[in-house]
Point group: C2
Chain length 227, copies 2
DNA sequence: CGTGAGGTTGATCGCTTTCAACGGAGGTGG
DNA sequence: CCACCTCCGTTGAAAGCGATCAACCTCACG
């Protein structure tokens, strides 16, 4: 049965998709906010996130931005972009990525069928993530979106199904806003609202504590949080 | 090089993913609004759309709905839903689908590597579609969303890059609204706004004419409509 | 200690929602 | 054949949520 690999931190060290057997890994370290590739660039490489977070962002001619996804360690960026990239890719915080030439990936698929299966798993789990996010964008209030985002982040970072979560926010308010389809101000207001109700505790801007995940989940209005 | 197959009507008759070589196709005809599967059902089958349109819908406990995607002929529904389906699937109009047992699909992947590649293409193109839609939901105004939706629909139905498009709207205002993250009233208002500006012509509710696609594209605010 | 970037908070505006009424198409039964 | 009903779509008026505009705060850095 096809199954999606869990993308927990324990997997970060080794390659999820099996690319580690290929030599010349071509790793690249990115500073915070350093671009990895731009929309329209030739999509010669697919990038595997080793450490940190990378954003996929669409910028409109009038300045509007939408971050389509954050890619975390173990995930791929640039898969399925034929010819040229459809989005800007940029490191959110310091990040390390492995550049995989598309041609090499193609060969790997052809030679090792289990590789294709693994990539299919990753692609379908990306579909699931983006679909879940489009539900947030389409039908949730600002508060619910912020709460959903924090739930998602906490489940990635923190221990699996812990009741309490402590973690760092790698992204700025602006990036959260552009991901959630809101403004910086609205994100800030709703974070303080959650703080006021003691759903979250914020220490020095970038450090978060969630004393009760289930309470946060209530604010996210997700009946099926078991993704 | 990986490339996504074009999902134009010409391909609708035969199977896009190659499943036609497998016998016992198990076709199913659905009436308008007939459910194909429900969220939480065991995901034993993947469905290939042969004719018509099928929606993937999430329903909240408080009644809010979000249609995550419309699946058109040649596309798959249920791919990557492990264990149970994550959404309700339902025919928008009369539809014909082919039910493919998951186990059979798995075997096909293992035995025929080019099948895995094809499925990967379909999955990545689904990612692209959903990402594009989440941009609409996150950063576009109601008018832009409606226009974008019509552009998308016209490009699927009408001749490839025709200047003028004539086609039928298979879905109701409610379904459009739930797809675009709007209300029925807002969809209606913006359709009349487009009609008032002679961007579209509506005859008997379900029949649309777009005299100038580029003008409609202007309203969609998509600099890169070449997807 | 001055400066600037990022974050918070407040006041107002505007787009979309909500509530409500109306109209047309299709179906049913008298 | 027509009255009646229901569903769907449209249109109008009012309300509300998030955006916008603006001020202030905090902290890192020179």
């Amino acid at each position: 049965m096809l199954h999606v690999m869990t993308l927990n931190p324990a997997n970060a060290a080794r390659s999820n998709w099996g690319g580690d057997v290929v030599n010349a890994p071509c790793e690249r370290v990115l500073a915070a906010h350093e671009p990895l590739a731009h929309e329209g660039d030739d999509s010669n490489y697919i990038y595997e996130i080793i450490e940190g977070v990378v954003s996929s962002c669409k910028i409109f001619s009038d300045g509007r931005r939408q971050i389509v996804a954050f890619a975390y360690p173990g995930e791929l960026v640039g898969l399925g972009h034929q010819g040229t990239y459809r989005y800007d890719f940029e490191a959110v915080s310091v990040a390390k990525v492995r550049a995989i030439p598309k041609t090499q990936l193609l060969n790997a698929i052809r030679e090792r069928p289990e590789m294709a299966e693994k990539l299919l798993d990753m692609a379908t789990s990306e579909v699931a993530q983006v679909q879940e996010h489009s539900i947030n964008l389409g039908r949730k209030t600002a508060l619910e979106r912020v709460a959903s985002f924090l739930v998602d982040l906490a489940e990635r970072k923190g221990g699996a199904d812990d009741d309490v979560a402590v973690f760092e926010l790698p992204m700025s308010r602006a990036e959260i806003a552009d991901f959630l389809g809101l403004t910086i101000e609205t994100v800030s207001r709703n974070l303080t609202k959650l703080r006021a109700r003691h759903v979250i505790e914020v220490t020095q801007m970038t450090n978060l504590t969630i004393p009760d995940m289930d309470r946060l989940r209530d604010f996210a209005e997700c009946e099926d949080e078991a993704l």
